[in-house]
């Protein structure tokens, strides 16, 4: 059986859906944040697969940008979550009084 673009994209869609499930279903902010990273990675996989199968380099360059931005976002996001934890002694979504998701 030949592995084509479709296989990679289905894996990517599965990862994206898994991440989305984690974002909505988990209570811990850190796990929610990890799930968000998983979704971003799923999008990257789709970009790289498209780039390879359409023989176009732009997708890979965009992935480089996405990865770098994600790293910056992670550093700020984790700092924020840790700061909030210090304040409230909790990292659960339900304990955020302002959070009415």
């Amino acid at each position: 059986m030949n592995v084509g673009l479709g296989h990679y994209l289905v894996v990517s869609a599965l990862l994206f859906a898994l991440g989305l499930f984690g974002v909505i279903a988990r209570r811990n902010l850190l796990v929610i944040y990890m799930s968000l990273e998983l979704m971003l990675n799923a999008a990257n996989l789709a970009l790289v697969a498209f780039s390879r199968f359409t023989n176009n380099l732009d997708g890979q360059i965009l992935v480089f940008f996405v990865i770098t931005v994600a790293a910056a976002e992670v550093s700020v996001g984790l700092a924020l979550i840790v700061a909030l934890y210090r304040k409230r002694r909790s990292a659960h979504v339900e304990d955020l009084t302002a959070m009415k998701l």
Binding site: G19, L29, L80, A83, A98
Partner: protein, 518 residues
């Protein structure tokens, strides 16, 4: 000469880095004044932009392989953002006492967010769109949670972070689908192939997900859930910048993507746009009704205003796009006036309850008048800016009513929204002028730069309401840039194109630099 095109951005970045450097040698007591330096710098850049920056004869110039575009629309937004940042920086100086540490960084991050907006309105490629949007968003994560001593501020930051990162994931996946189906990231390249992709569901789905990220920025339904909490929790100057700058940057990109990159597809989305606009207007206005916190109220009201502006997008016409720009201009002065007053009155307040405005008329008639005028303008009562902006938007939508009756319904809902909004805006005015006992009867000191800023905002509100012609000329010229580029794309799309080997894309050089369109 490509570097000269980016002069706004370079100057703002240099200013921001200069502030960070100056901070090293300044005594802590003098740091507050750095805000004035930043504001003066932004004012100088704005002056430079108005006096010296001219578009070439064709009205549009591209740089770096058409990654970056400078046309009248971009220039309009650049001056808009500079003006907004100027008032926000002046506000931040007043707010300085509330920020425990890192005051210079607060100013610098505001400037970095401004730079992100300047890049965003010139983005002509999904790569630059993504990176500049993220620069704005990440700067705002930090600015929102800057008051670490307040739990509310941190919670607002975390909420903004989660929802922002979620919308980023959707945007990136959307870009991946658009790229995978069309092979293009550049808006003009995309416009050339988009008509063939109208039937491609995967491509449409990708575009829809790209719009999720932009919908998050402008706080349109159903991506608005962050707005009230973040508006309430963030420091007041940040809230003002979020309400004006972030929203306008979102609209700049919505216009650019919908009307430059995929105009053929946007034309088929009128139903969707009408529904989103109507729901956003109703949601924002209805949820604002029971609010007692002024900043939260303005958060819901900003959702409603995003809805009004989406009406201009839904109209799918040059008049609609021009009306959005006009509405944004009026909104700029109005929101800045309101937040400047909030910033001054509620500086030491624990909560921003409407009752804290009681007796404001005795404490400072000027602030009371500015706040009341801002509310009148937001409500859309003549002769203020908000009225004429809404008039233009409704007119543009009604002009399309002949083709589709949904527009009549949409304008009807929008007028209903305006009527609902009268109730809560006048609640604020009643609190200001109601002869009750003020919680704190002491007069409010107003520094001279802030006085100037308030007078300018009030003058702007009246000017845009009473003498609309100069600004209408400006906005219709800016909106016409979108139409001109679309026309140019259709002209070139019909020409046969030499196939381009993907791996050997022409590198940027003086000879192969993208030709500017005649």
């Amino acid at each position: 000469m490509n570097i000269a095109l980016l002069s706004h951005e370079w100057l703002v970045l240099l200013l921001g880095l200069g502030l960070l450097l100056a901070d090293l040698w300044l005594p802590p007591a003098a740091r507050r004044k750095l805000g004035y330096v930043a504001a003066l710098g932004v004012a100088a850049i704005l002056l430079y932009s108005i006096l010296f920056v001219r578009l070439p004869a064709g009205g549009v110039e591209y740089a770096f392989g058409r990654m970056y575009i400078l046309d009248s629309l971009a220039l309009f937004f650049k001056r808009f953002f500079l003006l907004a940042a100027l008032a926000v920086l002046l506000m931040s100086v007043e707010f300085a006492a509330e920020i425990q540490s890192g005051l210079t960084e607060y100013y610098a991050l505001t400037l970095f967010a401004l730079a992100g907006m300047l890049f965003a309105c010139s983005a002509n490629d999904f790569t630059l769109l993504f990176v500049s949007l993220e620069l704005i968003t990440i700067s705002f994560y930090i600015l929102t949670s800057f008051q670490r001593a307040r739990t509310l501020s941190l919670e607002a930051g975390v909420k903004y972070l989660i929802i922002g990162a979620l919308s980023t994931s959707f945007t990136v996946f959307g870009i991946a689908l658009v790229y995978g189906t069309s092979g293009k990231l550049n808006f003009q390249d995309l416009a050339a192939v988009a008509p063939q992709l109208i039937g491609n569901k995967l491509f449409l789905f990708g575009l829809l997900w790209v719009m999720v990220g932009l919908g998050f920025k402008i706080a349109a339904f159903p991506f608005q859930i962050w707005a009230p909490d973040v508006y309430q929790g963030a420091p007041s100057p940040t809230t003002a910048f979020l309400a004006i700058g972030s929203k306008a940057a979102g609209f700049a990109l919505v216009l650019r993507v919908l009307f430059t990159a995929v105009p053929a597809i946007t034309a088929q989305w009128s139903h969707l746009l009408i529904v989103i606009s109507a729901v956003t207007i109703l949601y924002g206005n209805l949820c604002a009704l029971p609010q007692r916190n002024v900043k939260r109220l303005l958060g819901y009201s900003s959702i409603a205003h995003a809805g009004y502006m989406l009406l201009g997008v839904a109209a799918l016409s040059a008049a609609g796009q021009s009306a959005i720009l006009y509405y944004l201009s009026g909104y700029l002065f109005t929101v800045l006036a309101a937040f400047t007053v909030i910033c001054l009155v509620m500086r030491h307040a624990e909560g921003e309850d409407i009752s804290r405005l009681a007796g404001l008329n005795q404490r400072s008639p000027l602030l009371a008048a500015a706040m009341a005028l801002a509310m009148v303008s937001l409500a859309g009562v003549p002769p203020m800016a908000g009225f004429f902006g809404k008039f233009l938007l409704f007119k543009a939508a009604l002009a399309q009513g002949a083709t589709q009756h949904g527009y009549y319904w949409l304008v009807g809902i929008a007028i209903l929204g305006v009527v609902i909004s009268l109730y809560y805006y006048f609640g604020v005015i009643r609190a200001i002028y109601w002869p009750g006992n003020a919680p704190d009867p002491s007069p409010i000191p107003v520094s001279r730069p802030i006085l100037l800023s308030i007078y300018a905002c009030v003058a702007g509100m009246f000017f845009l309401g009473l003498y609309p012609n100069p600004v209408v000329t400006l906005t219709s010229k800016a909106a016409s840039a979108l139409q001109a580029e679309t026309a140019a794309i259709h002209a070139t799309a019909t020409l046969p194109k030499a196939p381009r080997a993907a791996w050997t894309r022409s590198l940027l050089g003086p000879a192969s630099a993208a030709p500017s369109r005649p």
